[in-house]
Amino acid sequence: MTWIDWLVVGVVMAGLGVVGWRVQRMSRSVAHYTVAGRQLGMWLMMSSGMAGGIGLVSIVAMAQTGFNQGLSFIWITLFSMLFINIPLFGILGLGVMRYRATNVQTLPQYYEMRFSRSVRLFAGITLVIGGVLNMAVFPIVESHVLVAFLGLPETFVILGVTCKTVLVLLFILLAMAVYFAVMGGMVSVTVTEYLQSWIMAISLGALLYFVLARVGVARAEQNLVAVRGDSAFNPFAAGSLGIAFVFTVIAQNIVSKLAFPPSLQVTSSMRNPRIVRISTLLTSIFGISAGLAFVAFGIAALAMFGPDVPADPAASEIYQRALVGRMAAGVLPTVFMGLALSGFICASISTNDAYLLSWGSVLCNDVICPIRSKPYTPEEHIRALRWTIVGIAVFIFFFGVFYTPKESVLQFFYMTGAIFSGCGLITWFGLYWRRASAAGAWAALVLAVVLPVGWMLFRQFAPGAIDESWAKENRVQDWVTLGALVIPALAMVAVSLATGGTTKFVDYGERLREIQQREASAKEPV
């Protein structure tokens, strides 16, 4: 990094900071703060959504998949795109349009409307636990990438105190994300994400060009075939993803569509259900393919550094997570180094601020507010949202300090994601099944939490109790994750049928038709 590179980074960050500060005054109500006044248009949503969806951690996760499993992941992507995302969500608008028609700010708010206040409260707690654990690994992984990219030492001494570089970077990344999330909520996040999306598109595009120019597309491809063999192309081959992982990804793809508050908060922020459907269709077709670029980073890294990794599992994970950073540092010229660092930081902030806002909104609106006897005034409510976000960030910092990697980043995502997949199940049942009851929702939520949380605690606190190589070979973790989806779904059906009675079902299909008729007469643009 030369002074020109640091100048590039400084200008980009200062510009974003000023924009974030200036748009904060536009957030004048709770609805502005949490769902941007429901004024998001299609193109703005997609462009800022690209930045929000592509975190530095997801670049690392996809690159790690490309490094270890080559292109075998593509089959899942293709299957999901052709048979789930495009027909179900993009063309039919299944689930997502009805969800937008509910007009809720957060997912658990719908649970109170459909089931009961206690389901809202429990689901809120579940979502926050799963979601915060899910994102807690983001900043620490991203810090490792930046350390590798900048070639920083493991520790440094300042005023006689020895500091771990990765923890200092962890603090800086979190502080920047908190700044944008706290400033103006969804309005600030949307506007700054849009600008960050420009920086990311240019810098990641340039990085891909320089990486492939250095390695050579043909060489990277031939190397992948030679080193990984069939497992790089066949997800069911030995050493590849495994059948349990494949089914888990497909099932979570469907369930998480109505379980993941950061995405649903964007859905709630859009102008109307029709825009939700069209943007879902377009991002289903094109959004996934940008992710393949990051798989290509991993394949290129395999050609540059070879397949050897450290023998110790934790050291191996850290090594693999740092590959993108090391590779970028090795190929980029001056100015592009600064641009890439800006892109990496933007990728980190854009995801972390949106997630902090989302989990903060759920914690404040769906856990704290329902148990308060006296409702907040709008000013108090926004202040409470801000402090909740800060509190989550503090937790994530300490998680990063003590966390030791036991699995790949992608496996960690799916495992923690399974904790709140129970919420996706009850949303689907709630929107489409008249007989889905509050008791059924309770059963599904409890079971969806018990399995993955129990497994995760067992792995962290009893490391010697299970043969690690046996667990890895038999994909135990993937089967646990899959079980955490299937068993709660069966429980929801069984308990709802057993308890019976009337429910608070609203046919949002009917409401959608009314909205569409109204829009057709008003000719509202996308």
Binding site: S29, A31, I74, L292
Partner: protein
């Protein structure tokens, strides 16, 4: 290299180029949407009752 492997590599290459092209398209079209969003947010009223509570 087998036919299947060649197909996967070609699919990835086309997807990556298409994905980046689409990304830039959304950014360019997003300029107009951003202007409209800022204008409408500024002009929109404040609904104090829309605070996430179910009443």
């Amino acid at each position: 290299m087998t036919g299947l492997q060649s197909f996967l590599f070609t699919f990835t290459e086309i997807s990556v180029v298409g994905g980046f092209a689409f990304w830039f398209l959304t950014l360019i079209m997003g300029i107009f949407d951003l202007r409209r969003f800022l204008r409408e947010i500024n002009e929109s009223g404040v609904d104090a009752a829309d605070d996430g509570r179910v009443t």
